[in-house]
């Protein structure tokens, strides 16, 4: 016959083990969610396989209201579309790092770049890019112009650029800059030159 006090202790120990198990499972799930969210939020950088090359970025500076060109080096893939995406990710990397000349939401990224006859580029941005974008005429214009001019600087045959958001058309970036338009790279460069 087990004494009553030992019985109570055993029951309490069993309950303690049960509660601890549930708590551990809960913690484990939480950690997995955090890791998954962090992985999703990370801006995808260019792949490390390939040749290191010089890339020209057209960077927007909100405080001064100007664009400045900067040469950076990065590892670029050989495939044109992947290369275009990597170039844009280098630009976005400048904006999502802190301090930033033109802050973008941390998870902002280009999902895909489609090149049509090397003359038309269709940029598919992720939803976080648009949902986290600041609203305002100048800040939205600066994002659009710097993406287009950076791409055109590194792909000289490019004539037009069109934006999609998660595969769909959207009217504006965050209420102001026109995203329905097919942008002429030459016309955009002319505007960028005025603001350099």
């Amino acid at each position: 016959m087990i004494p009553r006090n030992v019985q109570i202790t055993l029951v309490l120990l069993f309950l303690l083990v049960l509660v601890s198990g549930v708590y551990i499972v809960h913690l484990r799930r939480g950690t997995q969610d955090t890791l998954r969210a962090a992985a999703e939020d990370q801006t995808v950088g260019p792949p490390e396989s390939g040749r290191r090359e010089s890339v020209r970025l057209t960077i927007a500076y909100d405080d001064d209201g100007v664009f400045r060109s900067r040469q950076v080096s990065g590892v670029l893939p050989t495939d044109s579309e992947a290369r275009a995406k990597a170039v844009l990710q280098l630009l976005i990397g400048q904006y999502v790092s802190r301090p930033s000349p033109h802050p973008l939401a941390p998870a902002s990224a280009v999902k895909t770049v489609f090149l049509v006859n090397d003359k038309l580029a269709v940029l598919d941005l992720n939803e976080q890019f648009v949902d986290g974008h600041r609203s305002g005429v100048m800040v939205e214009d600066f994002t659009v112009l710097s993406l287009i001019d950076t791409l055109a600087s590194n792909f000289p045959h490019l004539e037009q650029v069109k934006f999609l958001i998660d595969g769909k058309e959207r009217e504006t970036l965050a209420g102001h800059a026109d995203l329905k338009m097919i942008y002429s790279t030459a016309a955009v460069h002319r505007v960028v030159e005025q603001l350099q």
């Binding site: 005429v137 800059a177 338009m181 942008y183």
Partner: protein
Amino acid sequence: MPFDTVPKAPAHTPQQTIHRPSPPEFSVVIDPAHGGTDPGARIAPNRLEKDLTLLLAKKLRQELQTRHIAVILLRDNDSDPSFDQRTAAVNLARPSVFVTLHATPGSTIHIYTAASNRLSDSDRERSGFLPWDNAQATFQNESQILAITAAAAIEKRELAALVRPSFVEPLHSIAAPAIAVEAPADKKGLKISPDLIAGALADAIAIRKISAGARP
């Protein structure tokens, strides 16, 4: 869509035998940007761009009416017409000037004209059909002059104003001299008195009216 003051058609008398073309009545369409479910910029938790644009639009309407200029307001409540609805209303009204109003955190008034998206826009004629997405092309010089005049009127009140090209909606589709004005704001509201901004813009539009030779 609430139209505040619709320009009246010229009166005809049956006795008239000679028809002289009367000068076009000068009218202005004001677009308080955003509205309804589109708040625009969240300047502070309780300070939305859509409310500030409406406030400024009503002030501008008042200033223009005191100068005897006909005004159409694209919204005078918390409605949210789409860009296409706004553009259609403007182009059907055939105004002498179009002004779209915005507000954003900052300290300077910005005046935007539509940045050209083509290299040879000046070749187009106004008499034929204008492409919907590029109707502004033939009005670009006049829009630029209006923007510079507005900046000068603002600077006359010892305030700073910058004129810039932009791809802001719906300027490119507007078949009239058109500008977008972005007023600086903070959590308290517009940083510059709406009376001052509206007064300066109304002065610039009145100058445009004189230079267009419209009837008083």
